[in-house]
Subunit: 176 residues, 2 copies
């Protein structure tokens, strides 16, 4: 999926997300739910820390892809986290981004629209590469096609689970 | 001034700004200053509305310039507001952006670093163009050079005030 990600547009989407968060705080404060408001703030800060970790991995295209994915009209919602203590990695950013982008596009054609579809990616940088844990929960309509896509990918993928409600696999990506 | 304004970088700066605001809310909540926290939220929402109005003017380069100005290392802090009810304008975005950018750069060489330097721009779209009200307060060191820059600009500028602490002028920019 493509979009015009100029400065004005990127900031427009980001502003929209942040304002939603601010409204959530505001709503809870106006109901005098101080504790809930504080919990929301803590969640926001943690989410921002994950964004910062992702942005610091030295994978600008991959990070950009993940940062804008929820602003595209995919039928799933993306979450991600960066695990471990290694802060920057050396790998082919373009290839990784291309593969991930094509996976998002293909996944989108295999799932049912307007369902609770969630994709979570955990990123574990290691000495000699990065392990990615992909976990999708939602409504999968084209299981066989999805299996074929994953098996035919020229990548080191270990499929762990594929049902009508779940897809889970590990992807190992080596350093350049 | 130039910078690498890719998606990751733009969002990095925006995240930093938003987190500062969130921390301000958090700080006030932890001191049980509920009312102050709510006021801050209202200010944040109003500021975001100005950003949105600026972004909708159909001047993508000019809007982008203003949106990133405070992320550059200028010696002044920029504020802006969009007045009136006209929501989009038709003018030469590139020329306007170029002039404004060169003014920012030149102003920066004429003021004292690390002082309370503030530049405020009010933008008033009208039927046949846009009126810009520039107001600077702070410490101006090179008054004559600044006056010359403004008088020699090929633009419709009405200088209203120029002292050691203040510069104020109106700029009229016609539609294309």
């Amino acid at each position: 999926m493509e979009n015009n990600w100029d400065i004005v547009n990127v900031l427009r989407y980001a502003r929209h997300d942040w304002l939603n968060k601010i409204q959530l705080i505001k709503g809870n404060l106006s109901l005098n739910r101080l504790e809930r408001a504080q919990d929301i703030i803590d969640e926001i800060v943690m989410e921002a820390q994950q964004e910062a970790k992702l942005s610091n991995l030295q994978l600008p295209h991959f990070a950009a892809l993940l940062l804008v994915t929820n602003w595209q009209n995919y039928y799933f919602r993306l979450e991600y986290e960066v695990l471990g203590d290694i802060h920057s990695v050396k790998m082919n950013d373009n290839e990784l981004t291309e593969w991930t982008s094509s996976f998002f596009d293909f996944l989108n054609t295999c799932i049912e629209a307007f369902q609770e579809n969630h994709l979570s990616i955990s990123i574990l940088p290691e000495e000699n590469g990065v392990k990615f844990f992909f976990d999708f929960t939602g409504s999968i309509q084209k299981r066989e096609e999805l299996e074929r896509f994953i098996k035919e990918s020229n990548q080191e993928i270990m499929l762990k689970e594929l049902t009508e409600e779940e897809l889970s696999f590990e992807l190992q990506w080596g350093n350049t």
